[in-house]
Amino acid sequence: MGRKLLLDKAHIENIRYYDVYRANGGYESAEKALKMTPELVLDEVKKSGLRGRGGAGFPTGMKWSFIAKPEGVPRYLVCNADESEPGTFKDRYLMEFLPHLLIEGLLISSYTLGANSCYIYIRGEYAWIPDILEEAIADAKKNGWLGKNIQGTGFDLEIYVQRGAGAYICGEETALIESLEGKRGNPRIKPPFPAIKGLWDCPTVVNNVETLAAIVPILRIGGEEYAKYGTGKSTGTKLISACGNINKPGVYEIEMNISVEEFIYSEEYCGGIANGKRLKACIPGGSSVPIVPANLLLKTAKGETRMMTYESLSDGGFATGTMMGSGGFIVLDEDQCIVKNTLTFARFYHHESCGQCSPCREGTGWMERVLKNIEKGKGKMSDIDLLWDIQRKIEGNTICPLGDAAAWPVAAAIRHFRDEFEWHVLNPEESQVRNFGLAHYADPLEIAAPAAV
């Protein structure tokens, strides 16, 4: 069994409630932190090597150290609970089942940053979760962990929950801030970064739910000890939300020292490919990251075992690698159609583009239309090159990373599965009744062979 730091107590009945959480060591990290100076807490976070769990993987301690501290200006902590990257549903699990873990993390983080107000911005569709969080906030307050003069330290903190209303782009931190200010979720041009000018133009840190929850075990065991979990610069544990054609979809906490193969095929995690099928491809970090065929997923181009770490997943760059991203692990079996899968993502990004930058606003719709034609058997060979050309012109030419996020899945699909796109064009009728199948993608890996019947 892999070691756990976030979900180690998730199995305890009623851990969602304050009394049970407290009786099982809850708020002990906060107790410890409140006796330290904010600078010392920050040191622990830096030593832990914790990297942002929302997708970008930026070192959290460094992000915190950038926050401006002008005299008399309030600072804010914003918890990004807008979880909307297709394939990702880990933060939902934390908030639903371990709300006090998040609140404790918010308390320690706000104390460290000197923020007296903290906002949890949660995606609007998670409509039942604000009730869970607000109940937990009220209980924490009743027990002296929120409000005025927390535990006699003189530190004040209020936490508020704000619901979004259905916009993927609000997961981008500056769009989130705009939305929290009651505006359209149009990302801002950076700089200035939120650490200098964020919510209501005040210094602001925006962190993902899982990142903020991870602060609790870091304080519990110490930054140095936390850094001993995992591998290299991928320290600690990561929540992976596994979905698609696997036997056991769900949220798993992994220590970042296991192989992709173990994650997919072991009973402890995904339990192998569903229905005895073979593995075709995988998008290991949410819809934005490059899709890779089975033969590049389990081993790198150099033939090394691919590990569930930031570095190993991205080994080979976009030519042969992918990314850890948000940990939204999407598995495709041999019966799945890459063109169709890519089309659903292109449609998603078209729907979610805020419309500010023309390469993204126009390009995402264009890619969707071209992909739809190919998928319906009405595509031309030149359409494949056209798609490649459009995605090239979106990438890097937009204010926020949504443009890149829309371009990468299309680029990777063509890069690795061009023959499948060509097959759709050359076999317009056949492609409407059956899928392309596996071709060479699963070779030469024995592990991708069907389960023994």
């Binding site: 394939g87 009651g182 998008i283 998603f348």
Partner: protein, 161 residues
């Protein structure tokens, strides 16, 4: 017009933000208004929200039209919002959409003649591991099968009576 209780809720929401930043209450108040006034936001409703928050109506319109959860036209009493993004598609969401279409005799985006059901396809709702799924009101309905869809439709019909 909101009831006294709802107006107090609005006040409570505005109090979450610093003085003069009441515009931040726009999304939460629009959610309240949509719940209160028939599941969608008419021009009158949006103007009313603008007056409550002391902002201009255009500031409300541009926000309400930006976010996909706000309905700009009337919808049925029960809105089936079926996810059809990649992870749900891989687990057969197309079949679920087709089944609902046949069962209710409507297309995507339409409402049944009795005004009871609206069918929508939506993008990823963050329930990929429990696919196929849909949102129904405040909650998710997961691991959908045709049988499960039948049960949900019956449940709605019973509740509507």
């Amino acid at each position: 017009m909101f009831s006294e209780a709802k107006l107090n809720k609005v006040k409570e929401i505005i109090a979450r933000y610093p003085q003069g930043k009441q515009k931040s209450a726009l999304l939460p108040v629009l959610h309240l208004a949509q719940e209160e006034f028939g599941g969608w936001l008419s021009a009158e409703t949006m103007d009313y929200v603008a007056s409550l928050l002391q902002i201009t109506p255009i500031e409300v319109y541009e926000v309400a039209t930006f976010y996909s959860m706000f309905n700009m036209k009337p919808v049925g009493k029960y809105v089936f919002e079926v996810c059809h993004t990649g992870p749900c598609m891989l687990r057969g969401s197309d079949n679920i959409v087709d089944y609902i279409k046949k069962k209710l005799d409507i297309n995507v985006g339409e409402t049944t003649k009795d005004g009871l059901f609206t069918l929508k396809t939506v993008e990823c709702l963050g329930a990929c591991g429990y696919a196929p799924m849909m949102q129904l009101g405040k909650h998710f309905r997961e691991h959908l099968t045709p049988e499960r869809v039948d049960e949900i439709i019956n449940e709605c019909r019973v509740n509507a009576n």
